[in-house]
């Protein structure tokens, strides 16, 4: 009996372990699957004719003649809607005051909805905002907007909570000149917008137009590259030198123990504190730039990844077989020459692993760059401006777009596209590190 219980407990432990690990793997999937599937939608989607019009208008890309032909056909279908709206406006003026008052707000919403869905009516004055120049560029968004015209959203409150109810608008306008709008929107939406599978790889490099309503995430990607490469440019030489010193030169003693413990402590500093330090030191004390800049951000990030670089390099140097070093010494090489020509080359793959992982870390960090480098809206920063200009960056702009942006719900596809791109960059770097490590392990074994 007692033995049975002991065996049962043993089983229970194993099960708990498997559950914990399975839970972790499932969570990883739960995060990655939506980010990647929806992020993919920023690159491949059903683009409408408005997307092609925007591409020609803003980027000068696409076949102009074909677009003209397409627009002519589309306009023929849309004409029903425009005529109905114009006719109803005249009809409205002739209505009795009470009925006019009842219908006018709904009519306004419909007219507004039509212009959001299809873009400004031909011949109407040009809107000031670029986002109003074009209709819906993505088919799934267009269907949502069409539903906004066809149905009125109301909320029903009860004890069980609130519930969203969609009330069709068409009955309200039964028998008026506006009625054809609803039937034709329901029947001919595809003909009005001509959705087609669109591959948009240049989402990665295109500039953003009107705060990400159109275009891509080029400035953010570029900013992330500047920041992470800049951080490495500072952290890698410092880190390798420190690692060489710790491994090859330092004699263990209180002084070295103190330096080591400083490096460990640096690794534990919260990332937002790095941001505060960057602001207080690089910007407010050293004045490396008049305000936020790529330079200040890169320096801050360099400090953040420094412990990682030092540790990885130390491990790589420690893993170099002693025989290499002794052989070099026996040949009469001094210590410096041994390090430079034998130890560092042998440790290089290991050091590279650390560098690649640090780059991923620097690319993904947000808190340290908020006060030192990041801006919400910005265009591509030229290489000559990195010393003085702030930059958008994937991590910060993802935060900004999904919390502070004026149209958070409209731009979900851009947010997911950014998140997927950022995760892809970071995971690709980590994968490179894993492969490098596997290669080292193989080489050491064989």
């Amino acid at each position: 009996m007692r033995l049975k219980l002991r065996k049962l407990l043993d089983r229970a432990l194993t099960t708990c372990g498997y559950l914990a690990i399975g839970g972790m793997a499932l969570f990883l999937l739960w995060v990655l699957v939506p980010v990647f599937t929806k992020g993919f939608g920023a690159y491949v989607f059903r683009g409408t004719v408005e997307h092609r019009r925007m591409m020609v208008g803003e980027f000068g890309r696409g076949d102009l003649d074909r677009l003209r032909a397409e627009l002519a056909e589309v306009l023929r279908v849309r004409e029903t809607v425009y005529q109905a709206v114009a006719a109803f406006e005249r009809e409205l003026d002739a209505m009795p005051a009470a009925r006019r008052k009842a219908l006018k707000p709904a009519f306004r919403e419909v007219r507004e909805g039509v212009s959001v869905l299809l873009g400004p009516e031909p011949g109407a004055p040009m809107p000031a905002l670029t986002r109003r120049l074009y209709g819906q560029t993505r088919w799934e968004k267009a269907r949502e907007k069409a539903d906004d015209i066809l149905f009125e959203e109301t909320w029903v409150y009860s004890d069980a909570g609130s519930r969203r109810v969609l009330v069709p608008r068409a009955p309200q306008f039964e028998g008026t000149a506006l009625a054809p709008v609803f039937t034709s929107l329901e029947r001919d939406l595809a003909a009005m917008l001509r959705p087609r599978i669109t591959v948009y790889p240049r989402f990665l490099t295109d500039r953003s137009i009107d705060a990400h309503f159109f275009g891509g995430i080029g400035p953010e990607v570029l900013g992330t590259l500047y920041l992470s490469l800049g951080a490495l440019l500072v952290a890698v030489p410092l880190g390798i030198v420190a690692a060489v010193y710790f491994q090859e030169y330092a004699k263990e003693g209180p002084r070295v123990a103190f330096l080591r413990s400083c490096v460990n402590t640096l690794a534990g500093v919260p990332s937002v504190v790095f941001g505060l330090f960057g602001l207080a030191f690089f910007i407010n004390t050293l004045h490396v730039s008049p305000g936020k800049s790529v330079l200040a951000g890169a320096l801050t990030l360099a400090l953040l990844v420094l412990p990682t670089v030092i540790r990885a390099s130390e491990e790589a140097i420690a893993a170099v077989p002693r025989a290499y070093k002794e052989g070099a010494m026996a040949l009469g090489a001094g210590r410096f020459r041994t390090v430079a020509t034998v130890i560092l080359p042998a440790a290089l793959p290991g050091i590279l692993t650390g560098i690649v992982i640090s780059m991923g870390r620097a690319a993904g960090e947000t808190a340290p760059i908020i006060f030192t480098a990041a801006v919400s809206v910005g265009q591509m920063v030229k290489p000559s401006e990195v010393l003085s200009q702030p930059t958008p960056a994937l991590s910060w702009n993802l935060y900004n777009l999904c919390t502070e942006h004026e149209a958070v719900d409209e731009l979900r596809h851009v947010q997911f596209g950014m998140a997927a791109t950022l995760v892809l960059i970071v995971l690709a770097l980590n994968l490179a590190a894993i492969l490098l490590r596997a290669r080292i392990a193989r080489r050491l074994k064989g």
Binding site: D10, A25, L28, V31, G268, P270, V273, T366, A419
Partner: protein
């Protein structure tokens, strides 16, 4: 090889100079942390002299923009504490079981596959976790009344529980990898001795391996605490940012505000704020975070050193 005295002297000098340069550069890298303390403290001190520590630590009235401003951060400290504690409570058992399983149960091949999974979990940027919390977890939480047992009033999907859940997951990789190393370090002999006495695997783990590696496990927990406490983006995006102590205090379904999120959120207008009390109070918060992380670090190093001494002595 014989060298002339002059040549030997030259080489010796070069060696010394090289060592000096290396030491100098290493010191710069290592002493950065002292610079961090200095500059954070320098900008935090004016707050304590102008406003005083009493209001900061004891009052819950956080109205930095009012006239006169009030800087009572007690609720914010409580928020940080609540979120961190919940995250660690969630992550530690899960992480320890996963580490046990990885070090003693799973075959070597499976472990090789799982390591990258854990690394990936650690590599995903915190802002992506925050985005995930906001777009996937928060809506689920919002409709939570229906799938959670009992009657809950969930005002908003962004609350202490959402933030803690995600923070817990983010602390997991640290806890798992550090405690797995600790468990591995306990060595084969101990395990085989225990098995030879007829103990089951669970008994070996709980009565022999875990006691032997308890200091390593403890430092894993400390690192997890530090990770959860210092995390900014997730709590900023998913905790609701209301500077209040939940009522009752353990009610995780209410929004809270943490130190890191306050720093990140309030420093937005830093350019115009430099020098104001609001600017300095954020540095005071940064200083508190810094001190707590130092304390955790020192505690971790002390435990490891003590363990090493005990092993050497015994």
């Amino acid at each position: 090889m014989l060298l002339s005295p002059g040549e030997r002297m030259r080489r010796r000098l070069a060696e010394l100079a090289g060592r000096g340069v290396l030491f100098g550069i290493t010191s710069v890298a290592a002493l950065a942390v002292l610079a961090i303390i200095f500059f954070i403290a320098r900008d935090a001190l004016p707050f304590f002299t102008q406003v005083g520590a009493r209001e900061f630590f004891l009052s819950t009235e956080w109205y930095p923009a009012h006239q006169p401003p009030r800087f009572g951060a007690a609720a914010i400290f409580a928020g940080s504490l609540l979120v961190t504690a919940t995250a660690v409570l969630l992550a530690v058992p899960l992480g320890l079981f996963a580490a046990l399983c990885m070090s003693d149960v799973l075959p070597f091949g499976v472990r090789q596959v799982l390591k990258p999974v854990i690394e990936m979990l650690a590599a995903i940027p915190s802002v992506v976790y925050g985005f995930f919390a906001l777009t996937v977890v928060a809506p689920l939480m919002q409709n939570g009344g229906s799938w959670l047992p009992g009657q809950f009033e969930i005002a908003s999907g962004v609350n202490a529980l959402t933030a803690s859940l995600i923070l817990g997951v983010m602390a997991l990789p640290t806890i798992v990898s550090v405690s797995e190393d600790a468990l591995q370090a306990a060595g084969r002999e101990l395990r085989e001795g225990s098995y030879a006495l007829g103990a089951t695997r669970a008994e070996t783990l709980f009565k022999v391996v875990i006691p032997a590696s308890v200091s390593g496990l403890f430092s894993a927990v400390l690192l997890g605490v530090m990770r959860a406490m210092g995390e900014t983006m997730v709590v900023w995006m998913a905790s609701g940012n209301a500077a209040q102590i939940p009522r009752p205090w353990y009610n995780l379904l209410q929004p809270v505000r943490t130190l890191t999120a306050t720093i990140a959120g309030d420093m937005g207008e830093a350019d115009q704020m430099t020098g104001s009390a609001h600017y300095h109070v954020l540095f005071a918060m940064g200083l508190c975070l810094l001190l707590v992380s130092f304390a955790c670090n020192l505690a971790g190093e002390w435990i490891v050193a003590r363990q090493r001494k005990r092993l050497r002595g015994g």
